[in-house]
Symmetry: C2
Subunit: 341 residues, 2 copies
């Protein structure tokens, strides 16, 4: 079995670090860390995420978007465990001569997201450094059983919280210049409200921060199941993203190959809980999209005209890192690994 490169690194870093007996999840089992509070039924959800590659590569260049995303990437991890938001810590390293307007726009992005998610800024740390570095920590609370990446069983239905592919299309437009003539609007909204509803309904959940294929790969690995995509990719791909892929003569699946996603949730629901999902979704005017079904047969299956295509999701997931930032090579190699439509 191919192993996920990023997991190898994290495994090496985590080896030898003491873990907590109060922690409910092990490595990679949930989007946020889950800790039972002593003498209480509450579970604390904690997550930390920095914007590093996103700034260094120029993927996020607009300072307002950088601020918005700094909050969103962390809020999305809280959403994926079904946590009620409690607050944020912001850790900013800024160049001593950073432009005042740039900083003001960054802070507005942070403030706008903080308000949008009901995730107040509790505090933080400021430092001076040659290059800007932005990290944040989000904290939430789960009353009762949190949602994790684990719990899907064969027969469970696979859903997305909304159209996918916007993160891939944005990266295409920002980084893959020859393929990306179209500006693609990108302002993802972490699915906190939906995550809270899914706590009672979903069997497993994960956000698409690394793209849909990486998320499917992880859900399959964590649960020992396969996933069969039964709804055509065009039906659950963002229309603007689809148009961008078509303009660049790339297959729609390219948009889902990552490593930059759109912060939707991918989740599985047992068949007997579908009515509960529909009722909960209707109550907030939400339209989850069905993609397929979890299967006993391992791996991703994508039906096509010439029968099932079975892309190697772990190899696809590792490809960007293996290409070492060579975007042209990445795009060329990916073409051979993806379903055509």
């Amino acid at each position: 079995m191919t192993s996920v490169l990023e997991h190898q690194l994290i495994g090496r870093l985590a080896a030898g670090l003491p873990r907590s007996p109060a922690q409910l999840n092990r490595l990679h089992e949930s989007d946020a860390e889950l800790v039972r509070l002593p003498g209480s039924d509450l579970v604390l959800a904690l997550t930390t995420d920095a914007l590093a590659e996103e700034l260094a590569t120029g993927l996020y260049a607009d300072p307002w978007l950088i601020g918005w995303m700094l909050v969103t990437v962390n809020a999305s991890d809280l959403a994926a465990v079904g946590a009620d938001p409690l607050g944020l810590l912001i850790c900013e390293t800024l160049p001593p001569g950073a432009d005042g307007d740039w900083i003001a726009a960054l802070q507005r992005g942070i403030a706008d997201a903080s308000v949008a998610y009901g995730l107040p800024v509790l505090g933080g740390d400021t430092n001076a450094g040659a290059a800007p570095h932005l990290a944040a920590t989000a904290v939430g609370l789960v009353p009762g059983r949190p949602l994790t990446r684990c719990g899907a069983r064969p027969g469970d239905l696979l859903f997305a919280s909304g159209p996918l592919g916007g993160g891939g299309a944005f990266a295409l437009a920002q980084l893959v210049a020859p393929y990306g003539p179209h500006a693609v609007p990108f302002r993802p909204v972490a699915r906190l409200r939906e995550g809270v509803l899914l706590r009672e309904v979903a069997s497993a959940c994960m956000d698409t921060s690394d793209g849909a294929i990486a998320t499917m790969d992880e859900l399959m690995t964590r649960n020992g199941v396969g996933l069969r995509i039964e709804v055509p990719v065009e039906r659950w791909t963002d229309p603007a993203a689809l148009a961008a892929a078509r303009a660049a003569a790339l297959p729609p699946w390219f948009l889902h190959a990552g490593p930059h996603g759109e912060f939707e949730l991918l989740f599985t629901v047992p068949p007997d809980r579908i009515p509960a999902l529909e009722a909960a979704a209707e109550a907030i005017g939400w339209h989850p999209l069905r993609l397929g079904t979890a299967t006993t047969e391992p791996g991703l299956a994508v039906p096509g005209a010439a029968g099932d295509r079975r892309p190697d999701t772990t190899a696809i997931r590792n490809l960007f890192a293996e290409c070492g930032g060579d975007v042209g090579r990445y795009v060329a190699a990916l073409g051979n690994m993806l379903p055509e439509t």
Copy 2:
């Protein structure tokens, strides 16, 4: 009144950011953020701190020490609010080609501190970047009333949790080469056990991460009191640090002028709680050092042969930033601002 430069920056960054109604502290009122957990008597203590300047200037160069300090600076903030430790999140940005031995030593430093403080690593984030950047978040719990920087009254006695000046001496040896011929051992230990005891005893508390004078300045401002140092500086200064200052022909107060401290706690105790402090300290074999007394007259007073000296603690605190990294100018200017002995 002189204003603290770092506070001006933080104030600008924080303006417009939404705050939480569940938060017990305002800006600068405590070393960690304090949030009452809904439906519970527990207060969550949260803090985030990065090592940025410390790495960029070469102050911390040994990778084990970098790992140890990454945990210690955050644990020390939990100590200053009297929190029981719950766990850590580590956010590492490492150069893609970082040396394996360097990373292994860094991780050992993190693991050793994590074990020493009973502060398990709950999770984290890893990124690739041109320069290493290390941030961490520490989480703790306070059952009941947390300790803050606020609550000192005139007549309260001022203590340090241990000898001060080790952080200043280490910075002297690392950064001010002409003045620092002596290697100074530096492995501060966050005062978590002591902080928990102080919860019931101290009226105000803050760690000396920015040096003793900056800490005194902050405690005076927060409480509208002055501080009169009644015990000679040699009695509460670390002996090795004192020797280093003498070898460099610098006054002992130089060691306390910051901006790099030793992560002890400075705290005030009302006279009627001194027996409780003594009993608690004796129970764990701890020897807090008395420095002086809080006064109604504002500012720091240091008795000397020619009467009281009244150094401008805020100006001293701002000096390093104002010298823009010019260490020679900083050392020369500081000489005129400090008490002689």
